[in-house]
C-alpha cells in the first residue's frame, strides 16, 4: 500500500506529524517523535530516488483528480535527488538539535521548535515534489512561515529584526512568484507545470509570458538569495539558533535553486529562457559577482556564523554558474554542488553551534585555542572547511572539478579561472578560523579552562556529515550518477515538452469531450 503512495509520503508525513508534535508538548517526546518522522521521510525519499532512477517519472494525482484539473505530484530524478539531501540533513539536524536547542531556546518553546521544523520540512518537500505552479506557492509559504518562526526563536534580540527583514523580503518574493504564475495562467488557462510547458509553446513570443518569466525569476532569486537580492540572508543565518541555521543553510536555498531549475527546464524551456530572453548571461554575471563579492565579505567578518552565511551566498553563485552554462555537464555540476554544499554547510554550522554550546560565543576570538579543548568539533570544522575550499578527496573538490570541466568543455577559460580564483577566498576565510583554533592561545580566564567537548548527540550527526563529505569525495558514483541522470532528464524533459505540442492539442480534445 505504501508503494502506491510513495510520492505523497515525504510531504504528508511531516505535515501530519507537525500538529502531533505540538500536542505531545514535552520537549523530549516531541524531539524523539520529530526525529523519527524525519527519519522515515528520509527512508521514503531514498526509495523515491531509487524508483525514479529505475522508472523515470512518478506521477501522483492528489484527490484522484487527473491533472491538469487536480493537483499532481511529480517525482523525477532531479527532485528526488534534492529531496534526499533535504530529508537527510533534516534528520541529522534534528538529532543534533536536542542539546543545541536546550541551550539556545526557552524551554517553553521547545515543542514549538520541533513543530515548526516539521512544518518547514513538509513545506520544502512539497515545493520539490509538486507539479503544480500554484501548489508550489502554497508550500513555499508553509516553509517560509515556519522559517520565520524558527529564526525568531533565538534568544538574541537581533534575530527579531533579521526575521522581520526575512519576512518582508520573503513575502515580496512569494508575491512576485504569485504575479508570475498569474500571468502564465492568464495566457494558458492551466496551472499544471507540464501542461503549462505544452501550452506555452503555442505562443512564439508573448509579452505576458515573458513578463511572467521575469517575475518568477526575480521572485525565486529573492528566495534563493541570488546576488544582489541576498541582503536578508546573512543576518537571518547569523542570528538564528545554530540548529536552525544548520538546517536552513543546507536546505532552504537549495530548494529554491531547484525551483529555478524546474521553472527554466520543465516549464519555460531552455530555448525560451536562454536563447530568446538571454537569461544565461545575466545569471552568469550575477553568479560570478556573487562568488567574489560575498566571498570577499566573508573574509572580513568577525562573527563566524556571518562568515559562513556570506560563504553560502557565494556558494549559491557556484550552483547558478553551473546552471548558466546551459549544458548537461554544467547542470550536473550545479546539481552535485547542491547536494555537496548541503553536506559541507551542515557540518560547518553544526560545528559552530557546538562551539556556541560550550563557549557561548561565535566570534572569531572565541575560537582561540579551541583545537585543544574541543578537538573533535574543530577537526570536523577543518575537514568540512577543506571541503568548502575544494581540496582533493573531499566532496567540494568533486563539485568544483565538474564545474571547471563543464566550463572548459565550452572553452570558457575565464569562468574556469574565476571558479578557481574564488576558492582562494575560501582559503582565507576558512583559514582564519582554523588559525584561531589551532595556532592561537586559549585565553587565561577561568571559564575557558572548563571548556570541553560536546556530547556525542551533537558530535554524531556532525561527524556523519563530515564522513559523508569525505566519502562523496572519494566514491563519487552515487552523486554523479544521480546528478547526471537528473541533468540529462531535465534536458530531455525540455526536449519532450517541445515535441509534445500535439499532446497539448490532445488535451484540448479532452476538454471538448468533457464539455460536450
Amino acid at each position: 500500500m505504501l508503494e502506491q503512495h510513495l510520492a505523497a509520503l515525504p510531504i504528508i508525513l511531516p505535515l501530519i506529524a507537525a500538529p502531533i508534535a505540538l500536542i505531545l508538548g514535552r520537549s523530549v517526546l516531541s524531539w524523539g517523535f520529530a526525529t523519527l518522522v524525519s527519519g522515515l521521510a528520509f527512508i521514503f525519499s531514498w526509495q523515491l530516488l531509487a524508483a525514479a532512477l529505475s522508472d523515470g517519472v512518478l506521477s501522483y494525482a492528489v484527490g484522484g483528480w487527473a491533472p491538469p484539473w487536480g493537483i499532481e505530484l511529480r517525482v523525477d530524478v532531479a527532485n528526488a535527488f534534492v529531496l534526499l539531501a533535504v530529508t537527510a540533513i533534516s534528520t541529522l539536524v534534528l538529532v543534533y538539535s536536542k542539546d543545541s536547542i536546550e541551550k539556545e531556546v526557552k524551554v517553553a518553546n521547545h515543542s514549538l521548535f520541533y513543530t515548526a521544523h516539521l512544518l518547514c520540512l513538509a513545506g520544502l518537500s512539497g515545493i520539490l515534489i509538486t507539479g503544480d505552479a500554484f501548489n508550489l506557492f502554497v508550500f513555499l509559504e508553509v516553509s517560509s512561515l515556519a522559517t520565520y518562526a524558527l529564526v525568531s526563536l533565538a534568544s538574541d534580540r537581533r534575530c527579531l529584526t533579521a526575521a522581520f527583514r526575512y519576512l518582508v523580503m520573503g513575502t515580496i518574493g512569494a508575491t512576485f512568484i504569485l504575479i508570475g504564475v498569474g500571468l502564465l495562467y492568464m495566457k494558458t488557462g492551466t496551472l499544471n507545470m507540464l501542461d503549462l510547458a505544452v501550452r506555452m509553446d503555442a505562443y512564439e513570443s508573448s509579452r505576458t509570458i515573458n513578463t511572467g518569466l521575469a517575475f518568477i525569476m526575480v521572485g525565486v532569486s529573492l528566495k534563493l538569495a541570488l546576488f544582489p537580492l541576498h541582503m536578508w540572508l546573512p543576518p537571518a543565518y547569523t542570528h538564528a539558533p545554530s540548529a536552525v541555521t544548520a538546517f536552513l543553510a543546507s536546505t532552504a536555498t537549495k530548494v529554491a535553486v531547484y525551483v529555478m531549475i524546474r521553472f527554466i527546464f520543465t516549464v519555460f524551456g531552455i530555448d525560451h529562457v536562454f536563447v530568446d530572453m538571454g537569461m544565461g548571461l545575466i545569471l552568469m554575471v550575477l553568479a560570478v559577482v556573487a562568488i567574489f563579492q560575498c566571498s570577499y565579505s566573508a573574509t572580513v567578518q568577525s562573527n563566524v556564523k556571518s562568515i559562513l552565511a556570506y560563504s553560502s551566498v557565494a556558494q549559491i553563485g557556484y550552483m547558478i554558474l553551473g546552471l548558466s552554462l546551459v549544458s548537461v555537464a554544467g547542470l550536473m555540476a550545479g546539481m552535485i554542488h547542491i547536494f555537496n554544499h548541503a553536506l559541507m554547510k551542515g557540518a560547518l554550522f553544526m560545528a559552530v553551534g557546538a562551539v556556541f554550546y560550550r563557549v557561548g560565543s561565535v566570534d572569531i576570538k572565541a575560537f582561540a585555542g579551541l583545537g585543544k579543548r574541543m578537538p573533535l568539533t574543530m577537526a570536523a570544522f577543518t575537514i568540512a572547511g577543506l571541503s568548502i575550499i575544494g581540496v582533493p578527496l573531499t566532496a567540494g573538490f568533486v563539485s568544483k572539478w565538474y564545474l571547471v570541466t563543464a566550463a572548459l568543455e565550452q572553452d570558457n577559460w575565464l569562468v574556469a579561472a574565476l571558479v578557481l580564483l574564488g576558492s582562494l577566498f575560501a582559503v582565507v576565510y576558512i583559514g582564519r578560523v582554523i588559525e584561531a583554533a589551532y595556532f592561537q592561545k586559549l585565553p587565561d580566564s577561568q571559564g575557558s579552562k572548563n571548556i570541553k567537548e560536546v556530547s556525542w548527540l551533537m558530535l554524531a550527526p556532525m561527524w556523519a556529515l563530515v564522513i559523508a563529505n569525505v566519502y562523496f569525495g572519494i566514491d563519487t558514483s552515487l552523486t554523479t550518477e544521480a546528478a547526471n541522470s537528473a541533468a540529462e532528464w531535465l534536458f530531455q524533459a525540455d526536449a519532450m515538452s517541445v515535441s509534445n505540442t500535439q499532446e497539448g492539442q490532445m488535451s484540448d480534445v479532452v476538454v471538448q469531450e468533457v464539455s460536450s
Partner: protein, 327 residues
C-alpha cells in the same frame, strides 16, 4: 453600469493607496487599509467573486485590521519623520521598474471578460460543467477548493497553523493573575447588553456559513473567522480573563492541531480505502455521497483550525496589551 461602478471603486482604491503612502498617523493608515480592503471586496463582488469578497471582508478588513490596531496599541500610533539620509531613489527605481514590467506584460493580455480567453477555455470548463455532477455541489468554488484542489486547501490550513506557531512562539499567551486589574469595558453597560444580544447571532451566522458553504458563498475559512470575531467581541467587552474561562488558549492550541489532523485524516482514510490521498470518492459506496462527506469533514477541520488560530492570535496580542497597560 457595472463597469462604471468598477471604475469609481478603482479610482477610490487608488486614492486610498496614495493616501496611505503620505499619511504619518498610523491609526489612520490602518483605518484606510480597512477601507481599502472593503473597497476591494466590493470590486470582487462586482467581478462575480462572491466567496473571495466574503473572505476579503472578514479576513482582510476584519482580522488583519484588528491585529494591526492591536500592534499600534503597543508600538505607538505616530510614524516618525524620516531622519536618515537613505535615498528614496532606489525604492522608487525598483517600483518604476516593476511597474514598467507589468505594463509591458499587459500589452499581450487577453481582452477583459472575453469568453474565448484561454482561462475560460482550458481546465475551468470542466469545473463549471462537470462539478455539479462529479462533486454534487452547486457552489463551484467550494467544489474546486475542497475537492479538485483540496491539497492546496490542506496546505492553506497548515499555513494558518504555522502562523499560530510563529505568533505563539513570539508572544505567547499570558494568563493574568487574579489580583491584576479586571479589564474590559466593565463600565459600559450599553455595550455589554448589545454584545450579549449580538454574540449568539454572530455564532449562529458562523454556523450557517460553515454548513451552507456548499450551496452559497461561505465555508470553513469564513465561518472560522466569523466565529472568532464573536469571541473577540466577547473578550473586548468583558475582558480577557472571562474569555479565557470560556475557551482557554490551551484548549485552542489543541483545537488548532485537531483541525489540521481532522483534515489530514480524511486523506489518510481515503488512502486506507485504496484511493489516493484526499480521494473522497472512496469514502462511501456512492462517489457523490463520498464527496459530500469528505467536503463537510474537511470544511469542519478548516473551520476548527481557523477559529482556534485567529482567536488565539488575538489572545496573544490582547494579553500583551493588557500587560503593558498594567505596567
Amino acid at each position: 453600469m457595472a463597469e462604471f461602478i468598477d471604475l469609481v471603486l478603482l479610482a477610490m482604491l487608488a486614492l486610498t493607496a496614495l493616501w496611505i503612502i503620505f499619511l504619518k498617523d498610523l491609526f489612520a493608515v490602518v483605518m484606510l487599509f480597512g477601507i481599502y480592503s472593503f473597497l476591494s471586496a466590493l470590486i470582487f463582488v462586482n467581478l462575480d467573486a462572491v466567496d473571495v469578497a466574503f473572505t476579503e471582508a472578514s479576513v482582510g478588513a476584519g482580522i488583519s485590521t484588528v491585529l494591526m490596531l492591536g500592534t499600534l496599541a503597543l508600538t505607538g500610533r505616530q510614524e516618525k519623520e524620516r531622519l536618515s539620509t537613505r535615498s528614496k531613489l532606489l525604492p522608487l527605481f525598483v517600483v518604476t521598474l516593476t511597474g514598467a514590467a507589468l505594463i509591458y506584460g499587459t500589452l499581450d493580455m487577453p481582452p477583459f471578460g472575453h469568453p474565448d480567453n484561454p482561462v475560460h477555455q482550458h481546465v475551468a470548463p470542466r469545473y463549471i460543467e462537470e462539478s455539479p455532477k462529479e462533486v454534487g455541489l452547486p457552489n463551484m468554488v467550494t467544489s474546486v477548493l475542497a475537492s479538485y484542489r483540496g491539497f492546496d486547501t490542506l496546505g492553506e490550513t497548515v499555513v494558518v497553523f504555522s502562523a499560530f506557531i510563529g505568533v505563539f512562539s513570539l508572544l505567547g499567551v499570558r494568563r493574568k493573575k487574579k489580583k491584576d486589574l479586571e479589564s474590559g469595558l466593565e463600565s459600559h453597560r450599553v455595550l455589554q447588553v448589545i454584545a450579549k444580544v449580538i454574540i449568539p447571532l454572530v455564532i449562529l451566522f458562523a454556523l450557517y456559513v460553515q454548513f451552507h458553504g456548499d450551496f452559497g458563498p461561505g465555508g470553513g475559512f469564513q465561518a472560522g473567522v466569523i466565529a472568532a470575531a464573536a469571541f473577540i467581541l466577547y473578550a473586548l467587552v468583558f475582558g480577557l480573563p472571562k474569555a479565557f474561562a470560556v475557551v482557554g488558549p490551551k484548549f485552542l492550541q489543541w483545537m488548532a492541531a485537531f483541525g489540521v489532523l481532522l483534515y489530514a485524516s480524511v486523506g489518510l482514510y481515503s488512502m486506507y480505502k485504496g484511493g489516493n490521498f484526499l480521494d473522497y470518492n472512496q469514502l462511501a459506496a456512492d462517489p457523490i455521497a463520498g464527496q459530500h462527506y469528505g467536503i463537510i469533514i474537511i470544511e469542519l477541520g478548516v473551520g476548527f483550525t481557523v477559529f482556534a488560530v485567529m482567536l488565539n492570535i488575538f489572545y496573544a496580542f490582547g494579553s500583551q496589551a493588557e500587560r503593558s497597560n498594567v505596567q
